[in-house]
């Protein structure tokens, strides 16, 4: 073993450009456990990205260890930093390394130096989504059933006399129920977690707007659509349902692009489902359909707060769509040129 360690030491002086993982003469051993086959062990030191303090030193690290495994080892010496809140990078100001990156394929010597940044308390995406969407679902129903202390006491537990109010409640509840079920059964997330403070930000947005809309739609003094009346509501409902089905179809198509448990990324293409043919013109049709649904809901309820919610959502989704479109273009050379981020030919 002594000779091996010496060889490891000379490799260290070879500099960052060398391929450190190439072992010296492989030790001839009988087929033993995988651990015994490793020849050149790495040493890993982890420094704080800001203060450059040495936080952790790991010796005898396998060359084929992944960043994910190194994170678990780091977690053992610093139990307050679970793996999800660790950002490990080669350069203090550089990008985070991925969990799948393998130690020996990184541009490091056999003593690898990594920099650590604390990402802060993390919360799983699933938890965030369930809380974000559960809130609006329940809040709207509270307003619909006119729970006490919202409207004047004489209206407690009464129901609206306008049929469009019942319809709106069904649509709103269906929408958020669909989102909850998709979160549980359809979506495949690239990241497991997000920073904890996001849940406060997101919930304020969703819950706040849901309460604001629900207050007016279910208000005893609500005025149903006046411009085109019943016809307006009917058309609005068709638009809403069409876009709900479309949005769901896109989610299924995106899910099918990614095998279970993987994090691969591929260009989405139209499938046999006609609702996915919009992929020919748009990179993020899930946002397009989402905008369409809320546009339909605005038309159905003729309520200005709903229009504001639709507008704000449109702005946010456009920002996201443009970002996604840009990363598609960067990642794939052969990305179809006809596609726009969110609105065909326009945006």
């Amino acid at each position: 073993m002594d000779t091996v360690v010496l060889e490891g030491a000379t490799h260290k002086k070879a500099g960052p450009g060398s391929v450190p993982g190439v072992p010296a003469p492989p030790v001839k051993r009988p087929k033993a456990k995988k651990a015994k086959k490793a020849v050149v062990f790495f040493e890993v030191e982890i420094l704080d990205a800001k203060t450059k303090d040495k936080l952790c030193f790991l010796d005898k690290v396998e060359p084929n260890a992944t960043i994910g495994e190194i994170k678990s080892m780091f977690h053992k010496s610093h139990p307050q930093w679970y793996a999800a809140r660790q950002s490990i990078r080669l350069d203090p100001k550089g990008k985070s390394l991925k969990d799948e990156d393998v130690l020996q394929h990184l541009p490091v010597g056999t003593t690898a130096t990594f920099y650590f940044r604390d990402l802060g308390a993390q919360i799983s995406w699933v938890t965030v989504f369930l809380t974000e969407y559960g809130g609006p679902l329940l809040l709207y129903l509270m307003f619909y059933f006119r729970v006490p202390f919202i409207y004047a006491p004489k209206y407690d537990f009464t129901t609206s006399k306008h049929w469009v109010v019942h319809l709106a409640c069904m649509c709103h509840s269906f929408h958020y129920l669909k989102r909850l079920l998709e979160t549980l059964f359809v979506h495949r997330f690239s990241h497991g977690t997000m920073p904890l403070r996001n849940i406060f930000k997101n919930c304020t947005y969703y819950w706040g707007f849901a309460a604001w809309m629900a207050y007016y739609i279910n208000h005893p003094l609500y005025t149903p659509p006046t411009i085109y009346g019943e016809q307006q509501v009917r058309i609005a409902l068709i638009i809403f349902l069409f876009c709900q089905v479309g949005n769901f179809s896109i989610h299924i198509a995106l899910r099918n692009l990614r095998p279970p448990g993987s994090k691969t990324r591929k260009i989405p293409y139209p499938t046999k489902n006609p609702f996915t043919w919009i992929f020919l013109l748009v990179s993020c049709p899930n946002y397009t359909y989402e905008l369409g649904s809320w546009f339909g809901f605005t038309l159905m309820t003729q309520c200005l707060p709903v229009a504001f919610f639709t507008a704000v959502g449109f702005i946010q989704m456009t920002v996201w769509a443009k970002g996604k479109h840009r990363s598609y273009l960067k990642e794939f050379r052969d990305y179809p040129p006809l596609r726009s981020p969110i609105l065909p030919f326009v945006l």
Binding site: K50, Y216, I217, H219, L221, Y222, T223, T226, T301, Q302, C303, L304, P305
Partner: protein
């Protein structure tokens, strides 16, 4: 910092670097703009002093300077544009919030609610604004001309310690005085039922505005304190990352 000029401050050095990359037109326009604004607020200051010296009362003072005030304060919107096109390196949002809060006070409080125009709190914030703006615009002017007298820099980074709290007091007291009149007239408010299915109560909106000073004012104040430490005392402050 390794190469600190003799008169130098972090901001000044940054301004020099900025200027080197700024076009001559931008510099010329900004110099003209800042001189014009300094002059405008000086005119306001003199008009206010003259009124008070002649009439020995503050009643009617606002009315006499209202048009000039509205003009120069509204023109300040242009500064948001400066940030947006990049000839001034400040965040669009920060500038936007500051200018909008001024515009809000002028147009939606003092201009629209005539009954509070003779309040003492109005004179308070008018004096504070005038002194602050004259200092600020002359600071920018001298910076652009590369000849910043120390006393102007001193004034800009020290006066705010008194001016900010006084200004906030003046504004809050004015809004508070306006509340009963807002409630009585129901101005800018909309009630149900209506075909847009929305309602807005300006009275409660004003209360929320007043409450928002609580989180916002300390942030602005401590930001200026930090700038002061950097510029006047040469401290190097390591920003805490989020």
């Amino acid at each position: 910092m390794a190469s600190m000029e003799e008169d130098g401050s972090v901001e000044e050095k940054d301004n020099n670097n900025k200027k080197r990359t700024k076009s001559a037109i931008a510099v010329a326009w900004l110099t003209f703009y800042n001189i014009a604004m300094t002059a405008g607020w000086l005119v306001l200051a003199m008009a206010m002093m003259r009124f008070y010296l002649q009439k020995a009362t503050h009643k009617g003072l606002y009315k006499s300077i209202a048009r000039t005030l509205k003009f120069f304060q509204t023109v300040a919107l242009v500064e948001v544009g400066h940030c947006a096109i990049g000839i001034v390196r400040t965040s669009v949002i920060v500038t936007g919030v500051q200018v909008c809060s001024r515009i809000f006070m002028v147009w939606f409080i003092t201009n629209s609610i005539k009954q509070i125009q003779n309040e003492e709190s109005v004179i308070l914030f008018l004096v504070v604004w005038t002194l602050t703006e004259i200092t600020r615009y002359s600071f920018y002017t001298f910076n652009l001309l590369n000849h910043l007298p120390y006393f102007i820099k001193w004034a800009r980074y020290n006066m705010f310690i008194i001016m900010y709290p006084l200004g906030v007091a003046g504004e809050l007291l004015t809004i508070y005085a306006a509340l009963p009149f807002v409630r009585k007239t129901g101005m800018l408010s909309m009630r149900l039922p209506n075909k847009y299915n929305i309602s807005f109560d300006y009275y409660y909106f004003l209360i929320i505005v007043m409450l928002s000073y609580i989180p916002l004012f300390p942030q602005l104040f401590f930001h200026m304190l930090r700038q002061r430490r950097k510029v006047l005392l040469g401290e190097i402050i390591v920003e805490k990352d989020e």
